[in-house]
């Protein structure tokens, strides 16, 4: 052997020996079946309503749970809704884990999971990628990243859809963040879930459960759900109980002889000090329990920077975020179509963002309503565009939008001159049919929902928002029933790809990209609050009394201050 080869060999040997030893991560691969030696009745049969024990719920969660009528799952859109991440491991479950390795380095890129319950798929990214932006869609399993801490795999998940912590109606919000820990000992896998929910929990909710490695893979792994109308109901009805009217609230407490206030107590009852209170019978009642209805952290606001962010929704459709209202952009061979144009101060940046997507001419602009945050850049985009006749890009809207903008003396180049007055309009552009549906007396009186049939994307305008309660502009013809009608229209259009997830996507007037399940929760919320106020109006309560009753208590943490919403509904209903 020549000397230089020998030295090369020697150096290689040294490098090999001195390099960091590959960390032998615990192997989690396999098929795991649940053991239900804790909370069994809640997790498996789940037959008793009213089990709120052990959950650090706040007053918003109490109100939500108190209102929850389990027959809500009969509604078509709810029937196939799966459990979300912090809930699914608590139910009957077997799941499979495997890893995906980089073929070149053999480093783990991701762990994949298939959960037999509801046939859910998860990916836990191990490659250090960031979580998606806040305006990205949420899913029932969320977006997960993981890292090893010794023998513990720690997973952080965001972008989770709203669902429940318990079947008794304790809600988990879509602002929940979940940290999981996976720990293996032989054929036993321990799984810890710590859920942090600024909307419905006073402190993190921790659970742990065990799974045993399955040696025979002959379990049932499939879940089929096909929704069917079982109990016909008008579309604007959502089963729920008015506050104080739920007849099943105390079933669990009564069955097991527990003091109801302890069942209902939240975090306080999960600490040992509570034993003394139980023995002494000095349990707080709702009237003497410390108020935890102080303003909760607000839902994510749109980006406050003056940068426009672009998000590909699907097909030909993109969403521009940060311009005021969301802007939808459809691109294709025939040119560019823009739905809403954002606020005037952002006009140049909106135009630049559109130009980043396509250099073809802007042919069409559609306004979903007349508000300045939706129409402020009409002139800029229209002037920058061109119809096939060489005119500025055509602006399309319902005629009431034109009437209002002209009434408000907005500059005429901002006006939509291609107006319509019928219930709907359609045309074909960039290889797909586009539908405009007029929704009267909703956010205002010129609202239009736009549906891109080929891309399968709905642009909802301000009928659907993920950041706030509906803004009902009564002065310009808005009304709560119109909002409900509009939301139901969106539900009619949307078709989930699988189990209430994906499929048709919805761009809200403000907030994140959504799908049917998100619109459904919002519709339910509007109907429930409307019904509560309707009941109070019927009972002759004044507006101040209605506000004092906090009809939005269970949603204020998610959608912010409900005063304007309550006032608008009250004024609307009091008229009839």
């Amino acid at each position: 052997m020549p000397a230089r080869h020998f030295i090369l060999l020697l150096v290689s040997l040294l490098l090999l020996l001195l390099s960091t030893p590959a960390f032998a991560q615990m192997n989690l691969e396999g098929e795991w079946a649940g053991r239900y030696h804790e909370d069994q009745t809640d997790r498996i049969p789940g037959d008793v309503q009213g089990d709120f024990t052990g959950v650090p719920l706040n007053d918003a969660a109490r109100r939500y749970a108190e209102s929850f009528d389990v027959t809500r799952v009969n509604l078509l859109e709810h029937q196939c809704q799966p459990y979300n991440l912090p809930h699914i491991y608590r139910g009957p479950l077997q799941f499979r884990i495997w890893d995906e390795k980089d073929p070149g380095t053999q480093q783990i890129i991701a762990y994949r999971q298939y959960l037999g319950t509801y046939q859910q798929w998860r990916t836990i990214w191990m490659d250090g990628r960031p979580h998606p932006p806040e305006y990205a869609p949420h899913t029932f399993m969320g977006f997960s990243t993981g890292e090893w801490n010794g023998d513990i795999l720690t997973v952080t998940t965001t972008h989770i859809k709203k669902e429940f912590y318990r079947r008794s109606g304790i809600p988990s919000s879509d602002l929940t963040t979940v940290v999981e820990h996976y720990i293996r000992h032989g054929n036993l896998l321990s799984h810890v879930i710590i859920a942090t929910d600024p909307v419905y929990l006073t402190e993190p909710y921790v659970n742990s459960q065990e799974f045993v490695l399955m040696e025979r893979g002959n379990q049932n792994w499939l879940y089929n759900c096909e929704y069917a109308m079982e109990v016909p109901k008008p579309k604007n009805q959502v089963p729920h109980f008015l506050p104080g009217k739920n007849p099943f609230m105390r079933d669990f407490a009564n069955k097991f002889g527990l003091p109801f206030e302890a069942v209902w107590a939240g975090a306080e009852a999960t600490y040992p000090e509570y034993l003394a209170k139980l023995e002494a019978g000095s349990i707080s009642t709702p009237s003497n329990r410390p108020d935890n209805t102080a303003p909760r952290p607000q839902p994510p606001a749109p980006p406050t920077s003056d940068e426009i962010k672009t998000f590909h929704v699907q097909g030909n459709v993109y969403m521009l975020v940060g311009a005021g209202a969301n802007v939808a952009v459809q691109i294709g061979d025939e040119g560019v179509l823009v739905v809403d144009t954002g606020a005037k101060p952002m006009r140049d940046k909106v135009l630049a963002a559109v130009r980043q997507l396509s250099s073809k001419p802007i042919r069409w602009i559609i306004n979903t309503d007349a508000d300045a945050d939706h129409t402020g850049a009409n002139e800029t985009l229209s002037q920058a565009g061109m119809t096939v006749n060489g005119n500025p890009a055509a602006i399309v809207a319902h005629q009431k939008v034109l009437a209002r903008m002209s009434d408000e003396s907005r500059p005429s180049p901002e006006w939509p001159l291609n107006t319509f007055f019928e219930d709907s309009r359609d045309f074909y552009f960039n290889g797909e049919a586009i539908f405009l549906y007029y929704i009267p007396h909703a956010h205002a009186d010129g609202d239009v929902i736009v549906y891109f049939r080929g891309s399968d994307v709905v642009v909802a305008g301000d009928i659907f928002l993920t950041t706030t309660y509906p803004i009902i502009d009564a002065k310009h013809g808005g009304g709560v029933d119109g909002v409900v009608t509009g939301l139901n229209k969106i539900l009619d259009i949307t078709v989930p790809k699988y189990l209430q997830e994906g499929g048709t996507y919805v761009i809200p007037g403000h907030g994140r990209v959504s799908d049917e399940a998100d619109v459904l929760e919002y519709r339910d919320m509007v109907v429930i609050i409307r019904d509560r106020i309707q009941d109070m109006v019927k009972r002759g309560l004044t507006l101040d009394q209605v506000k004092a009753a906090k009809p939005g208590l269970d949603y204020d943490g998610r959608y912010g201050n409900s005063t304007s919403f309550i006032e608008a509904i009250y004024a609307d209903l009091a008229k009839h």
Binding site: F6, H37, I183, L188, F256, L258, T270, Y271
Partner: protein, 284 residues
Amino acid sequence: MPISLSTRIRFVFFVLLVANLPVQAQGQRGAQSPKSIAPLDITGYWVSVVSEDWRLRMMTPRKGDYESIPLNQEGTRVANTWDLAKDNQEGLQCKAFGVGGILRQPGRLHIEWQDEKTLKIDFDAGTQTRLLNFDKSQQAAGEKTWQGFSIAEWEGPAVGRGAPPRGNPRPTDAGGGGQGLRGGPAPPNSVMQGGSLKVVTTRFREGYLRKNGVPYSENASITEYFHRLPQHPNGDNWLLVVTIIEDPKYLSQPFYTSTQFKLEPNGSKFNPTPCKTAPPPPGK
């Protein structure tokens, strides 16, 4: 310049020897005390957060309510004979506070090193104490007790060989191992996570898995794994104890629970109380 074969072989052996020194040094850590090589720090005051089995742990369930426990026929029969008044008369108040049930009692733990080879756990519920012996040569002696005789051992990534927690870098104290590199700085026990403490307990008295007389026998096999979880983003520190109880006398299959405790800043809330079981609610 030619190098002779024997010289090459000697040189390779020398290189191997030098490169392997840190590994051997680490191997010698076995001679160090269990306390000094602890891969995780579970000492401190911990409070149980009863977010699971609330009604079975915070309250005394009624007789015959043995939800979740895989009792066999004999276990069911015995559970149905539970008589709280009789237990109290016979001085058996601590049957629900023995090794098989104590961790499920709402309460606080105080874990500290009694000496270099023994961890001590004080429970304020029932004023119980367990000693976790790392010295496997020790033999249990004397009568069986509620807490039995526990042998402990560290498990998981060896000190200095595991990947460091990302985003939670280990301080660079002097010593061997750490950062996943041979010969690097040693991790202080206070921040290491990821390993576990395995505890096997024998020579205990028959007791209750639940307050309402669901039994485990004195010949049951009780294995526990103590984990300190990576620090939560809000700063909380959690201890997870996984318990596996195998008891052919009363159970049809292994009984698994995992119980979580949150670290407290001090012992100001540690409040020892005697073994006492509240009567179950009336009704059936």
